[in-house]
Amino acid sequence: MIVGSARVEDLAAGSPRIAGFGAGPVRLPGAEVLQVMFEMPVSAREAVVPPALHPTNPALCVILAWRCPESPWGPFSLAQVRAQTRSGLRPRGFVTGAVCDNQRAADALAADFGFPARGGEVLLRRAYDAAWLEVAAGGHRILALEGMDPEPLLPVDVHYSVTLTLAETPRGPRLVQVEPDYAVERAERLRPRLLSFHPEAWGDRRLDPYFAVSASVASAEIRIPPVRFVCRPDVLAFEGTESV
């Protein structure tokens, strides 16, 4: 089986610090969720994930954005870039980078759930004929994409993998399993087109979303429950998974 080969020390450099695992649940009503899938080159699939995880075949780079009009920290938008993986038998999205447009939300998502959320601008727009996502950080546009020609889906047709973030915890560096529940009310599939992407800004220069697979946009209530599991990043999840 193929496994990740990224150096944990490199991945963990600058990762968020979690003091404890008691946070949550967090309720995010009325959210808009955009998920866009791209294939990545096979040369990157092992390099961008830690040894605990198995990349998928083909390697998938997933861009996931939330626009949340209500939250304990006020309105915010969050954009994540993830590598799709397996942890043992389970599908998981390993977050390589994230940007949030509300500093309070960014701090809380980092401190409570390990999201490596830096400050920036995240603009998710949805219209009847298209949806757009633009992300800027450090004064530069680091992501722009559009999804065209919405086609209705049923709420059950969209699937979001459980999230894994890497954080410094009281147990040492750990992959933190964040399990948002999405109560989807309305969903559409889109035809995606990537307009710009700066891989270094999303955690690894080898990230290369070169082949568009699919996109969906949904209206949902998101609920983030307290963290239940973490995993050592340096050994396979069968061996390294721990309950908290």
Binding site: G88, L153, H159
Partner: protein, 369 residues
Amino acid sequence: MKFGIFFELSVPRPFRDGIEKRVFDHALEQARVADELGFDWVWAVEHHFLEEYSHCSAPELVLTAVAMQTERIRVGHGAVVCVPEMNHPIRVAERAATLDILSNGRLELGTARSSTWTELGGFGANPDETKKTWDEYVRALPQLFAPGHTRWPGRCFDMPERNVLPKPIQQPHPPLWVTVTSPGTELDGADRGIGCLGVAAASYAEQERRTREYHRRIQSCNPVSSVVNDQVTTLNFLYCHEDPKRAASTGMRMVGMFGLANSHLLWTREAFPTRAYQSLANLAPSGTSAGNPADPYGIPEGICVGDPGRVVAAIRRWESIGVDGINFLLNGMETIPQAEVLASLRLFAREVMPQFEKRDVPARARTRA
């Protein structure tokens, strides 16, 4: 009860020189032994790009080799992917008829539509379309096999009058099946009068429900052909050894490795949201990773791993819920040495097979006009 063996041709990393050849050679030897021992079927999947999990991308060639090396066992496509980007329907008919001739009328023709983005995306196929194209293929194939010229004015292909050659030995055509991964596909098979080739493990209760509903529905089917194939088979693992402890440790290592490889497939639904794919996986839980506290060795319900007595008991239960046949995966990722695989097959044939009624009639005798 009929018994078959089922080839995925999984190849473990590292992909050293010769390892694929060894896996293929092992499979051919297993088929020869299964033929001698009285197994009914050997099936080969069609998968593409699925590193480690399955390197069986040209099953028609594998099955031709099997047919050339065996006398009696039936050879089955488990199954041809009915997606035009992968297999044009005319080529499906031509190859199937050729294989039926070369095997002297021993072909079973399974149909499928692929479940992974890895495969569909690789061929540029639209996941929204695969159920539709599968349906058209299943209606078209009996006509393409029929004597003389035919025309097909269809949606996914349009053929002016042609005589598709050669024609199969079995008349009107080899038995048709559909592989059943997603719950509900067995009803598609029933409605069209074709056999249910289970390729995903299900619990006894779930399989009983599906089998009962399949048999109820097929009574009033609108068959795609002049014959109906009303058989239901399931997929299982087989490792049989006199020592139950050794059977469990060896067999469950295979089950676990195969389940792990299966869980790493990139299912269509995971990458491409669509109404056309409702399942996020295909190997149901009861058969794979979950242990069974009620079993002294933790072997999950229904899995044919154990000493002959345990395997007989499991098959009795499958038989009692109306399953007509069981197809076995004999190895996964080459976790079991070939000599032990063959010993398991021979022990099964000696101790288990005689416990079940042998049907010496060919599969098509179970069809009804």
